[in-house]
């Protein structure tokens, strides 16, 4: 193959960028879900606040 370097390099670098992108999106999602879980564990839930603001508590 002529110019094998250029070909493999461009495939390689594209793969690196795409994989980095996938990893970033994936890890970001994992982190967000973990945070949501932590909040849930702390007792802060999306719709529960309505009850809290009432007379009791």
């Amino acid at each position: 193959m002529s110019h094998a370097f250029y070909i493999y390099f461009s495939y390689g670098i594209s793969a690196v960028i795409v994989l980095a992108l996938i990893a970033w999106v994936w890890l970001d999602g994992r982190a967000r879900q973990a945070e949501l879980k932590a909040l849930e564990a702390a007792g802060i839930r999306r719709r529960s606040a309505a009850g809290v603001s009432g007379a009791s508590e």
Binding site: H3, Y6, I13, D28, L39
Partner: protein
């Protein structure tokens, strides 16, 4: 009100979106991988071009990435209209999530382009209209990311970047038609043109498969990034809410 519209807005409500996208995602991811396997196989088994040598194989990455870079911006522009006209939160999320993806695809097309340029034109980079307008697109993506970073009021940031996205859309036709308006080193369009593709079918098939694979990759990542963004906003809201409630207990 219009039934179709209300159906649409129901589907576009973030909770339902999360549920639905959660179900679709595995399939989408699987399909993307499959397409990539086929596409990569095809792009390494086709015969080379006499004129360009084997470097034509770079095309199978370069061209889909370039298309995606432009398509991503178009998706963002449509979302921007959604933000400004319907003020739909999903639209906000959509164009915010798409910007880094667009930047990545643009980067791929820039890098593979210059890797192709070195053997073909003898230089990594020339300031011709096509190349520069793609570079400008890259800068615009980065500028939008920076803008989103610089503001912490999410919906305000969304509206402002929507305005910019729409104004910046002028760049897309410039990229597309730059080869025709200014005669440059770069290849003129041979696939997407009025009178049908002029490219050799030998190259057309792997190119098309790779293009579809890239497109699916984009949509998969976009869905995932949108989900992340929705979660991020929920977390922020809940944190603030918790803090506010704590603040109210302290101050009478």
């Amino acid at each position: 009100m219009n039934l179709a519209l209300s159906k649409f807005s129901e589907l576009a409500n973030p909770t339902r979106f999360l549920a639905l996208s959660g179900r679709i995602l595995p399939w989408l991811a699987g399909l993307t991988s499959l397409l990539f396997v086929v596409g990569l196989y095809m792009s390494f088994t086709t015969e080379g071009d006499y004129q360009q040598g084997d470097t034509v194989r770079i095309m199978y990455v370069h061209v889909p990435a370039a298309w995606l870079a432009m398509m991503c911006y178009s998706v963002m522009a449509i979302s921007a209209i959604g933000t400004l006209v319907w003020r739909h939160p999903l639209a906000d999320v959509s164009h915010k999530a798409a910007a880094p993806l667009g930047a990545a695809f643009t980067l791929i097309s820039l890098i593979t382009g210059s890797l192709w340029g070195k053997p073909m034109w003898g230089t990594w980079w020339v300031w011709d209209a096509r190349l520069t307008s793609v570079f400008v697109l890259f800068l615009m993506y980065l500028g939008l990311i920076a803008l989103n970073r610089a503001m912490d009021d999410a919906s305000k940031a969304a509206r402002l970047s929507a305005v910019l996205i729409l104004v910046g859309f002028v760049n897309i036709p410039i990229i597309k038609f730059s080869v025709e308006w200014w005669n440059t080193l770069h290849q003129p369009a041979s696939v997407i043109r009025m009178d049908g593709p002029t490219i050799d079918p030998e190259f057309l098939w792997p190119l098309l498969v790779m293009a579809i694979a890239f497109t699916f990759l984009f949509f998969t990542l976009h869905l995932m990034a949108m989900r992340n963004e929705i979660w991020r906003r929920r977390i922020a809201t809940q944190r603030r809410m918790a803090a506010r409630m704590a603040g109210q207990e302290v101050s009478p």
